[in-house]
Assembly symmetry: C2
Amino acid sequence: MSYFRNEIDEMQGYTPGEQPRDRRYIKLNTNENPYPPSPNVASLIKNFDSETLRLYPDPVFCELRKKIASLFCLAENEILVGNGSDDILTMAVRSFAGPGRKIASFTPSYSLYSVLSKIQGAQYEEIPLDAQNGFSLPANFAEKVADAALLFVCRPNAPTGNCFPLGAMDRLCDACRGIVLIDEAYADFADDNCIGFPRRHRNAIVMKTLSKSYSLAGLRLGFSIASAEIIAGMMKVKDSYNVSTLAQRIAVAALDDRRYFDETVSKIRRTRSKLIASLRGKGFKVFDSQSNFVFASPPDGDAAGLYRRLKSEGVLVRHFPGASTGAYIRITVGTDIETDSLLNLL
Amino acid sequence: MSYFRNEIDEMQGYTPGEQPRDRRYIKLNTNENPYPPSPNVASLIKNFDSETLRLYPDPVFCELRKKIASLFCLAENEILVGNGSDDILTMAVRSFAGPGRKIASFTPSYSLYSVLSKIQGAQYEEIPLDAQNGFSLPANFAEKVADAALLFVCRPNAPTGNCFPLGAMDRLCDACRGIVLIDEAYADFADDNCIGFPRRHRNAIVMKTLSKSYSLAGLRLGFSIASAEIIAGMMKVKDSYNVSTLAQRIAVAALDDRRYFDETVSKIRRTRSKLIASLRGKGFKVFDSQSNFVFASPPDGDAAGLYRRLKSEGVLVRHFPGASTGAYIRITVGTDIETDSLLNLL
């Protein structure tokens, strides 16, 4: 006899990207930022008084919420902070979905959405993107999302890298009777974003992370923006002390350094353009990308073989088996030197 | 119309202890450790290379699990690490309980257990402790816990500070058909513990935290010990990257410093004895405590009034209104100086 709920026994856990320790790789597989975090972070850590760790952290993140609010011209009660944005996804699933309350997301997308749905025992519907049209929204998307209690939309989408048009995002929010959670993990690398959506759609939540554009994947810091009413409800669901004192302070320091952020994002966008052009020059089919990775299909279509060959040469990229994604590899945009090493191998 | 599940709309969130910022208090209300964390922690932070935060943390905590395994003579796959032990309580509720799968706990105890049950939509049964007999287990405890899918037992119990006898703990594990999660947040201050239980009870999980005895409440680091089978199932439920790189490294550094840990715990136990004796000398009814706090009822029984008077004098303690707890205040064991300040006021 198992002690676990059936849903847990029957499911597989989420599979994170490889973090191998057997040798040094050029690591272009988990969309980490190739540049270090802001020097503000190093200096904050160096001068951090460890005795403050004796006390519980601020459960409502006053200083950090103030900083985020001022950056995005929001009120503090429109902001929720999580132990990484995965923590916020978990809160959302527990707040809005469950047996009889359906979760929907497009596919391919971030595979954690389906794992979290299974854990919660919610019905889960995958709505296929139009793979023939650059993984755009399917024609009937509005009717498909109508009855979801919680719709996850990753924008820019992973692993495809494209952004659905802002007008279509508005129509998604209008069409869905439940919450639309717009996962903007990669939006700092895009030309536009949905940060204004919660002010004009009562059901919109926008989620951001410091993992990618702020180079702080190891810190675990995500936040979401929504109406004060939605944030207040989600606060009841979060673990009381879900973000450590160190993480709150480091996040403030990182968010403070606008110049470093702008420079880093610009560098990655420049390298992305070069990478896409070079891959196309080598006969790859490559989608335009609005994120810090590129989704590319090799000329012979053997993406799995290419993934393996690159790994044996010391370059890690990611391959997602499956009908719509199996012909592609996802390449994180690294430094120019890392990108050149990859291109030389191809 | 609300977007939230009914359970969320209808519930109140957990109320953490006060963290006031209006003035400096002698803070004896949230069971924080009065001493700083080990000097190892300060030195690790000072020398921490912030660039490592660029990469995701180890999702399976190899180094930290190795350290915990060696401390407690366990295998690494018998250990799970959480973002504070609240994170592990949340994982347990999501793994084992839900509609049709009951959660039980004794009362009074840690009030988060009932909040988590409500969020999960599980039936929740509170089993009253015997308040007339020092908050000991009620006579019929074995039959009461039989049908729980998940039983929370806080040992030493909070806010009462007592330990249920080890023999009774064995009988609880035998009697319960589900998981028995033994919350040992305070066990490092006690004379004994249940660390050996998972090896002799298939359904036992023992949970520990670095918040109290290691003086790291601000870090958020808890861990649990159970059979490899139970740990593997709970790993599917946890957020993939639930513990930051910094938290993992700091935890290893803190756990490594046995001498500092032993000294700190001894000091707190000594101060606890003095505090209990002095309170009894002043006519308080005080239970023996196995934790880093003391549960005490003033001679006139007006605990709420005493809490308010102490607060106005700059000393924070905690008062839990309610039939069984309302006549008591819970006092965290501080430094000798803090304790003397409190005693002088009484």
